[in-house]
Subunit: 195 residues, 2 copies
């Protein structure tokens, strides 16, 4: 039980810099609009949210990974190969934003253990297209199920409108290139519904 601030609380001027940037004379009466005045505290809360949600979300799959002697890096590779069957090594590198050598180590293990297979590119034979094997798909699914439980619970509690908001904000946080990537996976069908 954290008891912080229990005793001698050296906390400096707490709500010190409230009005962030412009005091923003929010004239809009729209519902929820008052939530939008972005004081510092609101942003700091979001930092916390990202940290905890990501921490616990990734953690959900760790038990399984540990059994198999794999790490999160392997999970990430499995996830993106599974979602992009036939992806090239360089495309995968661009998604993960790690170096070729870091990826190589991970891929080597995944191929040795029979989770991932390579096939030579047809158009460009220099390419090694990555896919999940049956085993790989099965593992990815186990990992997925764990994380799915969490998201399902969160989605249920929050409701559909909240989920939509969640998506919008998350998209806004990431780089434009990441949004572009997502749009390839989330094409017309879903985007249409969003409009």
């Amino acid at each position: 039980m954290p008891d912080q601030k229990g005793s001698a609380d050296p906390r400096p001027p707490a709500a010190s810099s409230i009005g962030l940037l412009e005091p923003q004379k929010d004239a809009r009466p729209a519902a929820g609009a008052n939530l939008l005045f972005l004081r510092e505290e609101e942003i700091r809360l979001a930092q916390d949210l990202l940290f905890f949600a990501y921490r616990d979300f990734t953690n959900a799959a760790d038990v399984i990974l540990e059994e198999l002697g794999l790490g999160r890096a392997h999970h990430r590779a499995l996830h993106f190969i599974g979602r992009n069957p036939g992806i090239t090594v360089s495309d995968l590198l661009a998604i993960l934003r790690i170096t070729k050598q870091s990826l190589a180590r991970v891929l080597t293990v995944l191929m040795e253990e029979g989770y991932v297979a390579q096939t030579q590119g047809r158009a460009d034979r220099r390419q090694r297209l990555l896919t999940l094997t049956q085993t790989g798909q099965a593992l990815e699914r186990r990992l997925f199920e764990r994380q799915r439980e969490r998201l399902l619970g969160a989605y249920r509690e929050a409701g559909g409108v909240a989920v939509d908001g969640f998506r919008r904000v998350m998209r806004g946080i990431m780089d434009e290139s990441a949004r572009d990537y997502l749009d390839q996976h989330d094409p017309a069908e879903t985007r249409a519904r969003r409009a």
Copy 2:
């Protein structure tokens, strides 16, 4: 009392538990409501969202950290010390979920560089209460500003309702203990507005 789990949730039932899992014969034309039928793809999209948003959000501060020879671990410590002045070492450990030794390495650097100061606990003199020095506050602010830009942009684009949804979903994803922690920082004032 902070809202635990789903029970006793004071929040408006809104469009919560719509046809989840069920193929949902959506009669409602309400915007976003039909987004809620949780096919596998929807969950996988969320995995992507978390990965990219977290990747790019944390990345935003990396440039500054690199200049100073610090890493993300240092940033996390700075952030949570800044947000909990006078926090004890063990409380910080509980938040970060790393081992004492890992934290020790980080804290040693931060204290050597003059970003963090320790004071002996008054009630319990075994405790070493951690605070940011002036320098530490200044650095934390620089890092904060970078991440703030991103969030500000995302919040503006998404709008107040979306931000509220984002918060709800993120809270739902994390462990209950993390939600409890947040409730200490986000007391009456903010929660009231949310209702």
